[in-house]
């Protein structure tokens, strides 16, 4: 009986006869869209050629919840109700949930998470590309415990390597591409203990890797960690280095092109020759505040165009580094505008590359303590108030939902952080203020939070990984974060 059922099912699908013909709902767009999706999925074929290129997109702090908020924001900006919007990475065929815990952190930070993706193993919080047996700050014992990185493997295979971030280039996620350190905070020589000889500071390691030909293009912020305290840069800011080294000048002397603003960025020769872009003294600006420096999409385009000159291909790590920072600030508006800029960079990379030879992976390193309220009607502005559901229609009723305290509340909030309603100068008491939609949607507004903290925290919950291209189908189910390295490594070595 079972075999007969399976046979008739197969026949029905293969002849394209919809099972829907008996169903009253068969003409609903929901139904027909889903039927089309079924056909697309049944016809889908994995790409099993060798990957020539790998692009790893990471939006720091952009877990499933944060990504959801970016989706709604982008949809609402486009004039839609929000939920129905599809971000570019959400069209990718392959998806897995990623477990982001580290060897000692139920809640991770960006250092071991970047390490996991770049080396294939998990390690401790605060450390970058050093194995889990070594303690934080233990420079003395780190020799022999450094991990080999995907960038090093790619470079040995003749590929070019690029690293891009809107955070400082010496910050954890970009540093995970090229550095090995027992403390992620050793961004310049001032952090390094005097007796530490087994490693140099992170900025020095980047320049050394560029001179060694492992890293070809590096673009981001963090200029102050490359220049001395007595040197004033083009934006009138001094550096942090106290060892007398101006790493920018040293890089230029070694033949690396240097850019620090959008004017010289536009003049870069994008022929695959080495480029160092340091566009801010510290982190680059939030997308909402950006002026005078390239966007993530512009840096992505420049790097792809430069490195596609290498017939052996490339590995590029591209980070939207400040979705995380805006979450730490409790300022959802800047989270979302940076998240949208991340999606724009992905769309552009997809356009510039070929699915048949380029594996594109989109993920986050960890999530934040962000949460969402209900019961909101469609079109409730994601940074604004939760409006009531219209029992007779589609869009919300324009009536804000109220808590038991009689006050309106926003769709999104945080469990902790600077938006806490409990204030130190009121002996950690407080109550929710009256709130208008106009106040909540102000770009500088901090959504309400509960536990008072000077900075909102990460969370340990799963993030998503979305992928397309050769061997992207190896992403499925619920995976450990370090598995991401293994997919990249398998894809570039496949026969």
């Amino acid at each position: 009986m079972k075999n007969l059922l399976i046979a008739s099912l197969a026949l029905a699908l293969s002849t394209g006869v919809a099972l829907a013909q008996e169903l009253p709902q068969k003409d609903s767009k929901w139904f027909t869209d889903a039927q089309a999706k079924i056909q697309e999925m049944v016809a889908r074929q994995p790409i099993t050629k060798r990957a020539k290129n790998v692009i790893l997109f990471t939006a720091d702090g952009n877990g499933v919840g944060t990504n959801y908020a970016v989706r709604l924001f982008s949809g609402q900006q486009a004039g839609l109700l929000g939920s129905e919007y599809v971000q570019p990475q959400e069209t990718f065929p392959n998806l897995a949930l990623v477990k982001t815990y580290t060897t000692n952190g139920q809640t991770p930070d960006s250092a071991p998470t970047a390490s996991a993706m770049n080396t294939g193993v998990k390690s401790k919080n605060t450390m970058i590309n050093v194995d889990e047996t070594i303690a934080v700050n233990d420079c003395a014992n780190m020799a022999g415990h450094e991990l080999k990185t995907f960038a090093e493997l790619a470079s040995e295979a003749g590929k070019s390597v690029g690293v891009i971030s809107t955070a400082r280039l010496t910050h954890a996620t970009p540093a995970g591409v090229y550095a090995k350190t027992v403390n992620r905070n050793w961004e310049d020589n001032t952090g390094l203990p005097e007796d530490c000889t087994n490693q140099t500071d992170i900025a020095s390691q980047l320049i050394n890797q560029m001179k060694a030909g492992v890293i070809d293009i590096a673009m981001g912020g963090g200029r102050r960690h490359f220049i001395p305290t007595d040197f004033t840069d083009g934006e009138g800011k001094t550096g942090k280095r106290t060892d007398g080294h101006n790493l920018v000048e040293e890089a230029q002397a070694a033949g690396v092109q240097f850019a620090w603003g959008d004017e010289d960025f536009a003049k870069l020769k994008l022929d695959g020759s080495p480029v160092l872009g340091l566009f801010e003294s510290s982190h680059m600006k939030y997308e909402y505040d950006r002026a005078g420096e390239p966007s993530l999409a512009e840096m992505t385009e420049a790097t792809i165009k430069a490195l596609q000159n290498n017939e052996n291909g490339y590995y590029i790590s591209i980070e939207a580094g400040r979705v995380d920072h805006a979450n730490h600030d409790g300022n959802l508006h800047r989270v979302l505008t940076d998240g949208k800029a991340f999606a724009d960079a992905i769309a552009l990379a997809d356009e510039l590359t070929d699915d048949e030879d380029t594996l594109i992976i989109v993920t986050a390193d960890h999530e934040h303590a962000i949460a969402f309220n209900g019961y909101c009607g469609r079109g409730s502005p994601i940074t604004g108030l939760c409006y009531d559901i219209d029992d007779a229609g589609v869009k919300h009723t324009n009536e804000p939902k109220k808590g038991k305290d009689g006050k309106a509340y926003t769709v999104a909030g945080y469990l902790n952080g600077a938006g806490s309603v409990l204030k130190e100068d009121q002996q950690w008491t407080g109550s929710r203020p009256e709130l208008t939609n106009e106040q909540a949607m102000d770009p500088d507004y901090l959504q309400q939070a509960l536990i008072p903290m000077s900075s909102e925290t990460h969370s340990g919950e799963d993030v998503a990984v979305m992928a397309k291209g050769p061997w992207a189908h190896l992403f499925d189910g619920v995976i450990e974060q370090n598995y991401i390295f293994h997919v990249m490594n398998y894809a570039v070595n496949a026969k």
Binding site: D109, H171, H328, A418, D425, D444, L446, S455, E456
Partner: protein, 143 residues
């Protein structure tokens, strides 16, 4: 009504008592309105140089106790332990030189500060703090 208003009112100066409240309400603007996107001073700032203005923002945790100086920020200054190893000032801040020793208000409680607007780079001789824009002879209260 704050204590000063009550005392002034009791002394028979109700006009002064109420005037200070009205003054804060009329022309208060947000700190961000002093800057353009490229961090040059806005027309609003340039037109009011040397005048008393009323600016709304947040008091960053003071650098030391018993001081007449604090920094006003546009958004509450969240100090992220992973992002910075030391407190980092945003580019768009306002240095406040208060008339009196300051009483600390939580970094995430909105305040309004009124003082004379000074534009231009200045290095505080005592703290070496460098500011591009300041309110001097300033007073402040919760918004």
């Amino acid at each position: 009504m704050n204590r000063r208003q009550f005392v002034l009112g009791a002394l028979g100066c109700p006009a002064i008592a109420t005037a200070s409240v009205l003054a804060f309400a009329d022309d208060t603007t947000k700190l961000r309105d002093l800057y353009n996107k490229d961090l040059s001073f806005s027309d609003y700032a340039l037109e009011r140089e040397g005048q008393r203005v009323s600016i709304s923002g947040f008091m960053a945790p003071p650098l030391k106790a018993e001081t007449k100086f604090f920094v006003l920020t546009n958004r509450p200054l969240a100090v992220c332990p992973f992002c910075e190893t030391e407190a980092e000032w945003p580019d768009d801040i306002l240095a406040i030189y208060s008339k009196r020793i300051i009483e600390v208000i939580s970094f995430n409680t909105r305040i309004v500060s009124r003082g004379r607007l000074e534009l231009g780079t200045y290095t505080d001789p005592e703290t070496r703090f460098v500011s591009r824009v300041r309110l001097v002879d300033a007073v402040y209260e919760r918004a």
